[in-house]
């Protein structure tokens, strides 16, 4: 309970500090929106030309796109500090965090909340509403819960990936650019249901990095392409991905030697 209150205080602090530069904040917000709006335009023109892809209609693709985008954006907002963890290690801030009487991971998360990503969230919400209204899905309470579960599962999976990035920084002390393949790549190509990329990609995204568990399989059930109700539980399983990530963090923390400056 105490932690939540502390997080709220940190959150308001970040919000206030961003509001000091209002113009810059809103410009970045608009920029975020425009950049991801391009991706939407790409999807829109492709879908008007082809009407459907592997049996998914335009509104279904948008629904899928919005779920991935929303999960990614929420994860990026909350876990942004892990994405730039090498700077926290590099400038010695992490050493200061270790001295504080609170969980170090929690304090790292508190150190940065990136609200400019909300520009993208607005787009995700608009697409989600459109997808919900115009797709041929028969909405039952269970299906509504499933959408929420998919988004939460996605946040956890992306969060776990960010956590793994940060753990690697313990050993390399610098950021590993190519790891962006997993986050930016998943955002970029998660705009379509993962299954359309073929069996190999689906295999990787099921067993190696569980993107498909919160995106593709539950989506099949959601759109009625599969009757397997087992699929609707898979977002919960994707949360399990946090466990190895967390163990890795513990391991990294144990072996962490300060950068020494």
């Amino acid at each position: 309970m105490n932690s939540i209150r502390l997080y709220v205080i940190f959150f308001l602090m970040h919000l206030k500090s961003m509001m000091q530069h209002k113009v810059s904040f809103f410009m970045t917000l608009i920029g975020q929106f425009l950049i991801s709006f391009n991706v939407f335009l790409g999807v829109y023109f492709m879908m008007t030309r082809f009407n459907q892809v592997k049996g998914f209609s335009y509104s279904e693709v948008l629904l899928c796109f919005s779920i991935t985008l929303m999960a990614f954006t929420l994860a990026e907002t909350v876990f942004r500090s892990l994405d730039t963890f090498e700077t926290i290690i590099g400038n010695g801030e992490f050493d200061r965090i270790l001295l504080r009487p609170k969980n170090s991971l929690f304090l790292v998360l508190c150190s940065k909340v990136d609200l400019t990503r909300f520009g993208r969230l607005i787009q995700a919400v608009v697409m989600l509403v459109y997808g919900i209204c115009y797709s041929s899905i028969k909405w039952t309470p269970l299906r509504c819960i499933l959408v929420v579960l998919m988004i939460l599962g996605g946040v956890c999976v992306f969060g776990a990936i960010y956590l793994i990035f940060a753990c690697l920084c313990f050993f390399t002390l610098e950021g590993l650019e190519f790891m962006n393949v997993f986050t930016d790549g998943a955002r970029e190509y998660g705009k379509y249901p993962i299954g359309i990329y073929g069996k190999t990609v689906l295999f990787i995204c099921t067993y190696l990095v569980p993107f498909a568990l919160f995106q593709y399989y539950p989506f099949l059930y959601l759109t009625g392409k599969s009757d397997n109700s087992w699929y609707s539980l898979l977002p919960l399983f994707s949360v399990l991905f946090l466990i190895p990530a967390f163990l890795l963090w513990k391991f990294g923390l144990k072996h962490y030697q300060s950068t020494g400056s």
Binding site: V23, S24, M27, T28, I30, G31, L34, I35, F37, N38, V39, L41, G42, F45, M46, T48, R49, F50, N51, Q52, V53, K54, L176, E177, F178, N180, V181, G185, E188, Y189, Y192, I196, Y197, G198, V201
Partner: protein, 267 residues
């Protein structure tokens, strides 16, 4: 001329130092290219008759795009240049016996080329070995190679000239954020880096192809892939030349006007 050449060399060699960044960039580009092709394959399987170009041409386009990303990415800005105008450091540059526009132009070219040189070869070779229709298809005609290289050069100069316009506009607005973001995302889409321009609906495409950004990566890659041939080829090259001249003229005009009334606050 010689001073610009040495300036180019300094920047170019400096860019070559970032090898780890190039390596990770390469990994990203491999993944991106593969995913892009898998995505288009799904669409191709959905309705091959709606595909505006052959699949070989599309694969070639995608791989060239990934290999030469550094040459044509509109979103690549040098914040150092923006900052130098905002902070007034640009005064030092103005003291030098070189023209600001030319020096920054050369700098932009050098940075992009050094990035591209490190990354392009492995991607091109890798994609060449991929089985047809997913890999890079090389044109048999030597003439096409020559025209592609000419067109690529024009496209690169065009993009740098465009960057210059935006850099110069900072003299007028000081805060570059707004223009930068808006212009970047618009140009990205119009240049065909989100989806190749042939995939746009015909009426939209007709307008977009007249705009300057269609003269960047869109033209050389499609020439190489065999998607632009015959009279279209000549027209495309002419359009590229026209827009290049237009952008350079606008940029130089903005520079001249800005420098005439620029005030550097002492400090």
């Amino acid at each position: 001329m010689k001073k610009y050449w040495s300036f180019f060399r300094i920047r170019f060699i400096r860019g070559l130092q970032y090898r780890t960044a190039a390596l990770s960039g390469m990994v990203t580009q491999f993944v991106w290219g593969s995913m892009e092709i898998l995505l288009f394959r799904a669409f191709y399987q959905a309705a091959p008759e709606n595909f505006p170009m052959t699949f070989e041409a599309l694969s070639t386009y995608v791989w060239l795009q990934q290999a030469f990303l550094a040459l044509y990415m509109v979103w690549f800005w040098e914040s150092e240049l923006f900052n130098s105008v905002a902070t007034g450091d640009v005064a030092y540059e103005l003291c030098r016996p070189v023209r600001l526009y030319d020096m920054w132009f050369v700098r932009g070219l050098a940075v992009r080329l050094s990035k591209a040189v490190l990354r392009c070869m492995p991607i091109l070779v890798f994609s060449w070995f991929l089985p047809a229709p997913y890999g890079l298809t090389l044109p048999g005609d030597v003439k096409i190679w020559a025209i592609t290289i000419l067109s690529m050069t024009l496209g690169l100069l065009l993009i740098v000239a465009f960057n210059m316009i935006v850099y110069m506009s900072v003299f007028y607005t000081v805060s570059p954020q707004g223009i930068k973001l808006f212009v970047t995302s618009l140009a990205e889409f119009l240049s065909g880096s989100v989806i190749p321009l042939p995939f746009l609906p015909n009426h939209v495409r007709a307008i977009v192809e007249l705009l300057p950004f269609a003269s960047a990566q869109n033209v050389p890659f499609r020439i190489f892939a065999g998607d632009i041939t015959g009279p279209d080829l000549t027209i495309s090259i002419l359009k590229q030349t026209f827009w290049l001249f237009a952008f350079v003229l606008i940029g130089r005009f903005l520079e001249k006007r800005a420098l005439k009334r620029v005030v550097i606050q002492g400090g």
